[in-house]
Amino acid sequence: MALLPADALPRALAAAPATGQPGRFLTAHEMTTLRALVDRLIPGPPEDPDIGGVEALVPEAIDALLGAFTFEPPLIHAGGPFSNREGARRDDFAHFVPLDAHAELGWRIRLEGSRGIAAREFAGPVTGLQEVYRTGLAALDQAAGGSFAAEPAVAQDAILTGADANFVSQAFSDAREAMYGAPEYRRDAGLAGWTYTGWGDRQPRGHTDAEVTTAQGSSARRLNAEDLARARELLPLLARAGIWRR
């Protein structure tokens, strides 16, 4: 696939692959399987009231990461400091930051794998994310007896429960990154996971002192007993690396 010049990026961001078309890395069939997978990981209406991962172009974002090097600059690190959502006139996030040679090597290893190339195997062989997805999606099809995407949701859930947990975990992590990260990584202006969480980037507007110091009463959601009980079970995980910001 040809490299895109930098000034074509906004158009590329808008031009996500259509249903039935191959992606930047995945084949058309693999894209179909990935969409079916994402629809189980982050479902939307009617199963869930809020926007789902497929509608939010999460599969296309995962494919764009796998094919990051078909873009110039690669779709790895969004630019900064501001998006155009909170008062800035232009969207810096949409202008991705070029990698230098050092960073590019790391991302080539992460995405493409070490492939027996000596310069990539100083610490041993590495399986790239491209191969992880190719293998993982094929395994879902195999478990479905042909086409994972053609199975009903209940059967898909059963397949996922028995599937390679590392792959499902990787796909869920990448899907959440797209769903709850900045829209620019999704090549979509929609706010996706930010709509029902009230989240978003805040610069350059920031917050007023009053917003910092007082309860924001009208928008306050109440915590129910069931979620509180679940939260107590999960509490120790707040000690995981780098999670609790201080």
Partner: protein, 580 residues
């Protein structure tokens, strides 16, 4: 006295930049060599630094400013594993700090507490602890105080001397008001502080290098909330690059980035450094000659570099005649405590942890300590009002197997661990142990072809006992906050370095929880037989080789270390200016 002499500084983080600034102004020709990328274009120019950092959680997870663990892995093992001859049990990121121009302070939370008098004289003040390699520092709080003052003024620290409890001022006396007033008090921290006061504790606004007012021509913080772990999108936070390096570069210091120093070169006598060898961005070997060599790449990398620089005169690493090089590695182990609230307490709005509570920094010598077979139990400051961000929240809810689907989305909507939680973390002192150390991994190499640092680390039982002693007090404080539904704590060691919850035994065997506080490995002392460098950071065995980072710490205190790193480095640089 400089006479245009050449200084090379390895690392552009907290210590390196402070030294570069002082020595440039003292007339030295300063070259800073930084391993990482330069992401602040305009730094050192009249136009001033721009930034590519934003309110972007994804970029931070993609090694934008942090080292890529595939290129620069570290390895780890426990003390028990080391005793069994296991070479390593983990390969990947072990407490990696940002590897960019500006170092760790590029995305620090900028808390700037001072160490206390007692921290510099731990051994003589409180006595020995079995299994710990305690030592006094070869300097006192009063030696460092003027440099604390100067660094705070330079960084633009906020705080209020009139709100600091008298017990704290007795341990860390100060004569000057902080240069900027406290910024807005985050709502969740205010609730927890109220709970603390009800428990008879003494919360007060923490000192931090977040600019609550426009400072030195820069903007004031606008409370975006993406602070800890994020580069500041508007450069309203002081740090190595903004507060020191920018000015040093404007006055003639030179910066070489993406250059990896792999060896300190010594003359034939082995007593004098002549410069450093490094790989340039194209992988070519280069040499930088210098009259004075200062190492400040962080405690783990300083030990690694000195070990890699061994010569016939220094067969076990430069400056390692004492066998202390790499040893006494200290982190901080955080005890967390939380309260849930029925309403939304929005802890992510504005700079976090705007309150500190220092009541647990004093050693407690009562029955709980005796029951643990220890002379005392000691905690650290409580950074009150921590924050969970959106992606991290989604990660927590995804931790259980098969937790995808509608259930996950429902948790994201109701947000029990983000919107409805207020919490704090106690910075637990980590006692030095000779067996907690950095050495060179015998097999694993980094992208440069050099041995990676191997971290051998286990918690001292004091850390476990202190966490379990202070934890319930922290939980009670949280429970006493107005509107709190509960109070709970998470002791240290419950989560291993690589993942899920484990037993106490597993916790003891596990490596450290991730922390950006890295100290020890080349401790300072007055006796060359038991320390690596002197009170000015000069390596005992080499007349012109100085250490300017957390490696020189003899104790970890219960305080964020960066301010102390900068103060020590500034003191070292002034000494170099007078003697070289």
């Amino acid at each position: 006295m400089s006479g245009g002499r050449e200084v090379v500084i390895v690392g552009s983080g907290a210590g390196g930049s402070a030294a570069a600034w002082a020595l440039t102004h003292a007339g030295f020709h300063v070259t800073i060599i930084e391993k990482g990328r330069h992401l602040l274009s305009g730094l050192g120019t009249k136009a001033g630094p721009r930034t590519l950092f934003g309110n972007d959680e994804v970029k931070g997870r993609r090694a934008f400013e942090n080292p890529d663990e595939l290129l620069e892995p570290r390895t780890a093992r426990s003390q028990d594993e080391a005793a069994q001859g296991i070479e390593r049990s983990f390969v990947g990121d072990v407490n990696g700090l940002p590897t960019v121009v500006g170092g760790g302070t590029i995305h620090w939370d900028a808390k700037t507490p001072r160490f206390w008098r007692q921290d510099f004289k731990t051994l003589s003040t409180h006595g020995p602890v079995p299994g710990a390699n305690l030592a006094d520092w070869p300097l006192t709080y009063d030696d460092l105080a003027p440099f604390y003052d100067e660094v705070e003024q330079r960084l633009g620290c906020q705080g209020d001397i009139h709100q600091i409890p008298s017990e704290v001022l007795a341990q860390a006396p100060r004569t000057k008001q902080l240069p900027l007033p406290p910024g807005p008090m985050m709502y969740a921290a205010a609730l927890l502080a109220e709970g603390a006061r009800k428990q008879g504790l003494h919360p007060y606004p923490v000192s931090m290098a977040v600019h609550s007012r426009p400072f030195r021509g820069g903007r004031a913080c606008n409370n975006c909330g993406f602070c800890s772990g994020f580069g500041c999108p508007i450069n309203a936070r002081g740090g190595a690059a903004i507060s020191f390096l920018h000015d040093a570069l404007r006055h003639g210091a030179r910066l070489k980035h993406r250059c990896f120093v792999f060896r300190v070169r010594l003359d034939r006598s082995g007593r004098k450094a002549t410069g450093v060898d490094y790989l340039d961005p194209h992988g070519r070997v280069r040499h930088q000659r210098a009259d004075v060599v200062i190492l400040a790449p962080s405690a783990i990398e300083t030990a690694r570099l000195l070990l890699m620089s061994r010569t016939a005169h220094h067969p076990h690493g430069v400056g390692n005649r004492s066998d202390q090089l790499g040893r006494n590695l200290m982190f901080h182990n955080f005890t967390l405590a939380f309260a849930h609230f029925a309403g939304d307490v929005h802890a992510w709005v504005g700079p976090n942890t705007t309150i500190t509570i220092d009541d647990f920094c004093f050693p407690e010598k009562g029955a709980p300590a005796r029951a643990a077979g220890l002379p005392y139990l000691k905690g650290g400051i409580c950074e009150t009002g921590g924050t969970l961000l959106l992606f991290d929240e989604s990660d927590l809810y995804a931790a259980a197997p098969n937790s995808w689907g509608v259930a996950h989305k429902q948790l994201m909507r109701s947000s029990p661990l983000r919107a409805h939680i207020g919490g704090l973390s106690m910075v637990g002192e980590d006692l030095p142990q000779a067996a907690n150390r950095v050495d060179l991994d015998p097999k694993i190499r980094d992208v440069y072809g050099h041995p990676v640092p191997r971290i051998t680390y286990s918690l001292h039982r004091h850390e476990i006992a202190a966490s379990n002693h202070f934890g319930p007090k922290l939980a009670a404080m949280c429970a006493a906050a107005p509107g709190a539904l509960d109070g709970a704590y998470v002791p240290v060691g419950q989560i291993s370095q690589t993942g899920g919850p484990g037993s106490d035994e597993a916790a003891l065997a596990a490596g450290p929880a991730s922390t950006a506080h890295i100290m020890g490995t080349a401790r300072m002392g007055s006796d060359p037989r038991t320390s690596v460098c002197d009170a000015h950071g000069r390596v005992h065995e080499v007349e012109n080789l100085f250490l300017g980072d957390g490696s020189v710490f003899a104790s970890a205190g219960g305080f964020n270390p960066s301010l102390t790193i900068m103060a020590l480095s500034l003191r070292m640089a002034r000494h170099v200016a007078h003697t070289h």
